[in-house]
Subunit: 290 residues, 2 copies
């Protein structure tokens, strides 16, 4: 092995550190934006870390990618034009293009190094980026949103945490541009952080979509390798309600199979623990989904 | 500080270790059954560990205790007699006795040391054990189930993992006795392990309740300090369906407030990720809840 490794650690400011047993550092580089690593772990397959935070592991990436893609794509009746901001590992694009209505999936990733590292070491997610419907652009997502003249049916903000290169993706100006580029019946889904640890950021995300959306709501999923295990996406739409405008029959009729997502989980994921549900109600005064 | 400590570690056979920053070892003892520790952590308040596995933390114990108690107690129309097997920290009893219909809550904990350590250091959960309706018995749960002549409306198997002293609580004979001591319209809820990591044990739990129950199903919750974040309980009843016989109005009318549980979460928690749902369907051939 070129670069043997015993473990890789993820430190959390909330008072704990997770140490993953590993065998090899497959890649490490410092891009213009961040430190990028791919590690062969013992328990989770290959693992991508940006600035030493776990982004993707082969073992549990199916949860995140099922939930960011299939929830909006099974609500929108005809999602032809999909935009992914971030998502350089390719997993979100992989799930998006399983939907036959999707004609084009524009993917705007700021960091070429993430794309290259995943293409070389994590084909499980990265292979989708070679599909002819995926229009990969290495470009700043904020700049793209401001300058683009395209209109999208679904926009997925598949960002890292609001530190480092992804910080502007948690800003007011960015969301104004997102809703400008969204079709009148469009849906936005954004990586929504941890309900347990990031209540302040969840409140901020609500404040960013509230002026533009008719319906918005957090939905939750369980990632093994995200701190606390419980994680959120924020759904926001100018037209569609995430559960009332969802027809479970479409999932069955699609013939698609999943490891995590299913029609019951779609609806159930919008049920929130009381502490998060009451925060959402308080922050959205009457404009929430329920 | 009597016993300063920098951290406490939990090692997982699945290839990772969680290191919790700590300040003090408040208690350590070796009982007849297990090693018992109470640690003052930086991020999670006081933490109880049995054989170096995290059992309870002050910060997130509300999730587990809400979900083990309120799901069955809001399904059963008149839960007068409740039995807890295990649960020596007292958190389950605390939530059980919030229900005014409960006349007696028998609690059978094998390890006096756990009870004493929690009473001294974690009153947040342990205080309930002083309530007059709680009948605490320091006794082996398997022996109690075999010898008892009492009948219960709700039986909660609040056990540790199937290693060490709790191993017989995952056995056929124990479940035969549980259902013998259960009223004809009784409900059993058992700690159901991790859907991600313990699929074999989840299959075994189904096989244990299937011969005795009319309805049974796993339901999930998200614990910050359990490995993988996602965890299960198994609901089983001779009469009641966990969602069809659940009336959300009862929760509102109870006037009770929760941090995690609510009527939406009650129903949503029975929606399972596809990999777990298909396992449940396969193992229960037509006898499952759906």
């Amino acid at each position: 092995m070129a670069n043997p490794l015993d473990y890789i650690e993820e430190k959390h400011p909330q008072g704990f550190t997770v140490r993953y047993e590993a065998t090899e550092l497959l890649f490490e580089g410092q891009s213009e934006f961040q430190n990028v690593k791919v590690v062969q772990t013992k328990g989770f397959g290959k693992m991508l870390l940006n600035d030493d935070l776990v982004m993707v592991t082969e073992k549990d990436e199916f949860v995140y990618h099922d939930m960011i893609a299939h929830v909006p794509l099974f609500v929108h009746p005809n999602p032809k034009r999909v935009l992914i901001i971030g998502g350089g590992d390719g997993g979100t694009a992989r799930e998006v293009i399983r939907h036959p209505q999707v004609e084009t999936c524009v993917m705007v990733e700021v960091d070429q190094m993430v794309v290259d590292a995943c293409k070389e070491f994590i084909p499980q997610t990265a292979e989708a980026m070679s599909d002819s419907r995926v229009d990969l652009r290495i470009e700043d997502g904020v700049k793209f949103m401001k300058e683009s003249e395209m209109t999208f049916d679904v926009i997925l903000v598949d960002s890292t945490d609001p530190i480092g290169p992804a910080t502007p993706l948690f800003g007011e100006e960015f969301y104004e541009d997102v809703f400008t580029r969204l079709a009148d019946d469009g849906i936005v889904v954004a990586q929504g952080e941890s309900p347990f640890y990031e209540q302040t950021m969840q409140k901020k995300l609500i404040s960013l979509v509230k002026p533009h959306a008719k319906h918005f709501a957090f939905y939750n999923f369980h990632n093994m390798t995200y701190p606390g295990g419980l994680w959120s996406f924020l759904f926001a739409s100018k037209k569609y309600h995430p559960t009332k405008d969802f027809n479970a029959r479409r999932v069955a009729e699609s013939g698609m199979s999943f490891q995590y997502y299913n029609a019951e989980m779609h609806t159930a994921s919008f049920a929130l623990p009381e502490f998060q549900s009451s925060m959402q109600k308080a922050e959205s005064y009457g404009k929430t989904c329920e």
